[in-house]
Amino acid sequence: MSAIILFLAVLAVIAGWWLSQQRLTAKPWLEEGPIGDFPGGDAMTWPAAKVGLGVFLAVASVLFVLFISAYSMRMDVADWRALPVPRLLWFNTGVLVLSSVALQWSYVAARRDDAEGVMIGLLAGGAAAVIFLGGQLLAWQQLGAAGYFVASNPANSFFYLLTAVHGLHLTGGLVALGRTTTKMWRGAGIADMRLSVELCAIYWHFLLLVWLVLLGLLTGWTDDFVNICRQLLS
C-alpha cells in the first residue's frame, strides 16, 4: 500500500496548499460586511468543467495507483511469472503519443481561432485513439494465441486487467471527444468549443501518462523502483 500512501501524500500537499490560500485562520464572527472587504475567499476563477475534470483526474489517478499498489503486493508472491510484452505495445504507445500530440495541436489551433486546424486535430486524435484500442485488442489476441491466458498466472491477470481499465477510460474519453467533434462539425463557434477541446487534450495527456507508467510496470522496467518504494515503508 506504499504507492497509494505516497500518492495520497502528494494530493494532501496540493489540498493543503489550496486550503492555505483560503484564509482558514480567519475569524468569521468578526468579519461582518459586504464582499470585497475580505479577499481570498471567493470561488476559483477556473471554469467549473475544468475543476470538475481536475477532480475526476485525481479520482482516476487514485484508482490506477491502487491497482499499482495491488500489483506490487501481489508481485511478491513466489508464483509470479512475468509475461513477455508483445512488440505491438511499442507501436500502440507510439500511436497514443500521436493521438495526444494531435489533440494538443487541436487545442493550439483553437487558441488561434483556426477552426480547420481544430477539426483536423480532433479527427486525427480520435482516429489514433481508436487505432490504439484496436492495437491493444490485437495484443490481447497475440498473448492468448501464445498461451498467456488471463487466469494462468497473476502477472497475466494484471496485464489484462490494467490494459482493460486503461482502455475503458480511453473509451469514455472517446465519447466526450465524439461529442466535441460533432458539435464542431455542426458549426459551433470556436470560442464556445475552446474549453471542450482543452479538456479533451488534458484528459488525453493524462491517459498517456498513465499508460507510460503502466507500460513501465508491465515491462518490468520499474521493478527496481517498486522495490525501493516497498523497502521505504517496511
Binding site: P28, P47, G52, P154
Partner: protein, 592 residues
C-alpha cells in the same frame, strides 16, 4: 454542461441570472422523474435509500428473532442467517447511510446553503441517481436469484466469499460485486458535483469560512469518498475476476470440497488491505456529514453561535486526512505483520483528538445556551451522548492488546452500532425533523416526534448497551446459534431474548415516524419559510419549498458567517447570512 446556470468562463456568478440560462424541465417526466434539479434528485435519493434501508431493518428483525429465540422459527436457517447479516450490514453502511447523507442531504442542502441555483453539472447529477437506483435494484435482485444473496459477511473476505459452502456463491456474490461497482460509478458522478459546486458555485460573499458546518462536513466527506471508494472498486473488480475468470488475485491455493481448487498463490490479506483502505474512511464518510449537520442543529436550537467554529473546521479536515492512515486497525487479528498494529493503534488514538475537540465544542455550544428541546434538538443531544459512548469503546478496540480478545465478539457489534449506526441515524432523523418544513412547507407532528425520539433513543440503549456485556462474556458475533457453551451463562440467553423484544419494539416505532412523514405532508401545520428562525441561506429562499432555481431573480449576497445567533444589540436573536450589516457600519464603510 451548457446548462450551468452561471458564466462558466469566469466562474463568478453574476448577480442576476437571465432566465434562459437555467435548465428548465419541459414535461412532467423531466420535472419529477428524470429531473436535473438537485432538490428532486435529493428526494429521489432519500426515498430510494430509505426504501432499501427498510429492507435492512426487516433483516435485523429476522436476525434478532433467531438470536433471541433460537430454534423457534423454522423459516430461518443458518445460511439465511448469514445472508441476513451480510445484506443488513452492506445496505445500512453503503446503500442507506452513504447515499442518504451525500446523495440526499448533500444534493438538497449544498446548492441552497452556498447560495447556488443548482449543482454545477445537473445532467451528471441526474445520471448519478439513476445509476444508484440501478445498483440498489441489482442488490435487491439477489434476494430472488437461485442461491439467494451472498452470506459472506459485509466485509466479503476472500477466500470464503467465493467458495462453495458460503451461501450465495452462485449469483449472490457476483451481483453484490456488480452492484458495488455500479454504486461507486454513480457516487463518483454525484461526488464530482458536490465538490465542484462547493468550490465554484458559492454565491458572492460566501467565503469558505462562512460556510455552515453542514457543508464543510458533506464537502470533506465527499472528497474522502472520492478517494476511498476506488479502493473498494479495485477490490470488487479483482474479486469478481477471481470468481468469474478463475484468476488468483486474492485466492490462495486450497482444497475445496475435497479437491484441490484451480486457485493458487493469491493473497487474502491484499483484499483486506484494499477493503479497509476504503472501509475505515467510510466510517468518517458517514460521520463527518453527521458532525456537520449536528453542529447546525445544536447552534440553531440553542440559539447560540457554534463554539470554536475555526477549530470545528480544522477538526473536520484533520479527521478526513487522518482517517486514511488508520485502516489496519480492523486487521489486528488478520495475520498481518504484528508490529504494524502498533503504528495503526497510534494513529487511531490520535484521531480521537480532533473528534474529542468536536464533542467539547458541541457541549460548550450548549453551555448557557437558550436551549429549545424541540425534536431536532432532542435527536442532536441523543447523538452526542451516543457518539461519546461509541467513541469510548472505540478507544478499547483501537488498542491491539485489548482488541485481540474482543475481536469478533458482540462487543465489536455494540461498538460499531453505537458509533456508526445509532449515532448517525440520530442525526439523520434530527435532520429530517429540522429540514422537513423546508422541503414540504409543513411541520412534522411534535407529539409523534417526541414519542419517536424517546422510544428510539431509550430503545437503542437497551439494545446495544447489554451487547457490550455479552461481548465481554465472549459471545461471538455472526453465529447462527450459541448452543451449549460452558462460558456463556443462561443469563446471556435471556439477555438476548430481551434485546430482541426491544429491537422489535424500536423497529415498529419507526412506523410511527413513517406515518408522521406521510400524514404531515397533507395535514401538518404550515411552517412558513423559516420556522426555526435560522440564519443559513436555505431558510431565506423566497419560496418554501424552494422553487426551481432556488432564489428567484437575484442570488443572495452573504454578509456574515452562519452562526449569528443572540448577537448583543441585535433586534432579533438571529441575523440571516444575507442580511446587510447594520446602518452604522455601512456609514463607516462608506467613510473609509
Amino acid at each position: 454542461m451548457v446548462d450551468v446556470p452561471y458564466d462558466g468562463i469566469t466562474g463568478i456568478p453574476p448577480a442576476e441570472v437571465p432566465e434562459v440560462e437555467l435548465y428548465h424541465p419541459k414535461s412532467w417526466w423531466t420535472r419529477y422523474v428524470f429531473s436535473q434539479d438537485a432538490k428532486v434528485i435529493a428526494i429521489q435519493y432519500s426515498l430510494t435509500a430509505s426504501a432499501i434501508g427498510l429492507v435492512a431493518l426487516v433483516l435485523s428483525w429476522l436476525m434478532r428473532l433467531q438470536l433471541g429465540f433460537p430454534g423457534t422459527f423454522s423459516f430461518i436457517d443458518a445460511n439465511q442467517y448469514l445472508q441476513f447479516i451480510t445484506m443488513h450490514g452492506m445496505i445500512m453502511v453503503i446503500y442507506l447511510l452513504t447515499a442518504l447523507f451525500l446523495g440526499g442531504f448533500g444534493n438538497y442542502l449544498i446548492p441552497l446553503m452556498v447560495g447556488a441555483r443548482d449543482m454545477v453539472f445537473p445532467y451528471v447529477n441526474m445520471l448519478s441517481y439513476w445509476i444508484y437506483l440501478l445498483a440498489v435494484l441489482v442488490l435487491a435482485s439477489t434476494f430472488f436469484v437461485p442461491g439467494g444473496p451472498t452470506g459472506a459477511g459485509w466485509t466479503l473476505y476472500p477466500p470464503q466469499a467465493i467458495l462453495s459452502g458460503t451461501p450465495g456463491q452462485d449469483w449472490g456474490i457476483i451481483l453484490m460485486m456488480s452492484s458495488l461497482i455500479l454504486f461507486i460509478i454513480g457516487f463518483t458522478m454525484g461526488g464530482l458535483n458536490y465538490v465542484v459546486t462547493v468550490l465554484q458555485a458559492r454565491t458572492r460573499g460566501m467565503t469558505l469560512m462562512r460556510l455552515p458546518l453542514t457543508v464543510w462536513g458533506i464537502f470533506t466527506a465527499t472528497v474522502m469518498a472520492l478517494l476511498a471508494f476506488p479502493a473498494l472498486f479495485v477490490a470488487s473488480v479483482m474479486l469478481l475476476l477471481d470468481r468469474l475468470l478463475g484468476t488468483s488475485f486474492f485466492m490462495p491455493s486450497l482444497v475445496e470440497m475435497g479437491t484441490l481448487s484451480k486457485y493458487g498463490g493469491g493473497s487474502p490479506l491484499l483484499f483486506q488491505h484494499l477493503f479497509w483502505f476504503f472501509g475505515h474512511p467510510e466510517v468518517y464518510i458517514v460521520a463527518l456529514p453527521a458532525f456537520g449537520i449536528v453542529s447546525d442543529l445544536i447552534s440553531t436550537h440553542a440559539r447560540k453561535n457554534i463554539f470554536g467554529y475555526r477549530m470545528m473546521v480544522w477538526a473536520i479536515v484533520a479527521i478526513g486526512a487522518l482517517s486514511f492512515i488508520v485502516w489496519a486497525h480492523h486487521m489486528y487479528v488478520s495475520g498481518m505483520f504484528p508490529q504494524f498494529g502498533y503504528f495503526f493503534a497510534t494513529t487511531t488514538l490520535i484521531i480521537a483528538i480532533p473528534t474529542a475537540i468536536k464533542v467539547y465544542n458541541w457541549v460548550l455550544t450548549l453551555w448557557r445556551g437558550d436551549i429549545h428541546l424541540r425534536v431536532p434538538m432532542l435527536f442532536a443531544l441523543g447523538f452526542i451522548i451516543t457518539f461519546v459512548n461509541g467513541g469510548l469503546t472505540g478507544l478499547f478496540l483501537g488498542n491491539v492488546v485489548v482488541d485481540v480478545p474482543l475481536s469478533d465478539t458482540m462487543f465489536v457489534v455494540a461498538h460499531f452500532h453505537m458509533v456508526m449506526g445509532v449515532a448517525p441515524i440520530m442525526v439523520v432523523l434530527g435532520a429530517i425533523y429540522h429540514w422537513y418544513p423546508k422541503v414540504t412547507g409543513r411541520m412534522l407532528n411534535d407529539v409523534l416526534g417526541k414519542f419517536h425520539f424517546w422510544v428510539t433513543f431509550l430503545g437503542a440503549y437497551l439494545i446495544f448497551f447489554p451487547m457490550h456485556y455479552l461481548g465481554l462474556l465472549g459471545v461471538p458475533r455472526r453465529y447462527f446459534e450459541l448452543g451449549d457453551t460452558s462460558f456463556i451463562p443462561p443469563s446471556a440467553h435471556s439477555l438476548n431474548a430481551f434485546i430482541s423484544v426491544v429491537a422489535l419494539t424500536v423497529g415498529f416505532s419507526q412506523m410511527v415516524f413513517l406515518f408522521n412523514l406521510a400524514w404531515s405532508l397533507f395535514k401538518g401545520e404550515a411552517s412558513g419559510g423559516n420556522p426555526w428562525q435560522a440564519t443559513t441561506l436555505e431558510w431565506q429562499t423566497p419560496e418554501t419549498p424552494p422553487g426551481h432555481g432556488n432564489w428567484g431573480k437575484e442570488l443572495p449576497v452573504v454578509y456574515r458567517w452562519a452562526y449569528d445567533y443572540s448577537v448583543p444589540g441585535a433586534a432579533e436573536d438571529f441575523i440571516p447570512q444575507n442580511q446587510p450589516p447594520r446602518a452604522t457600519q455601512l456609514v463607516q464603510g462608506a467613510a473609509s
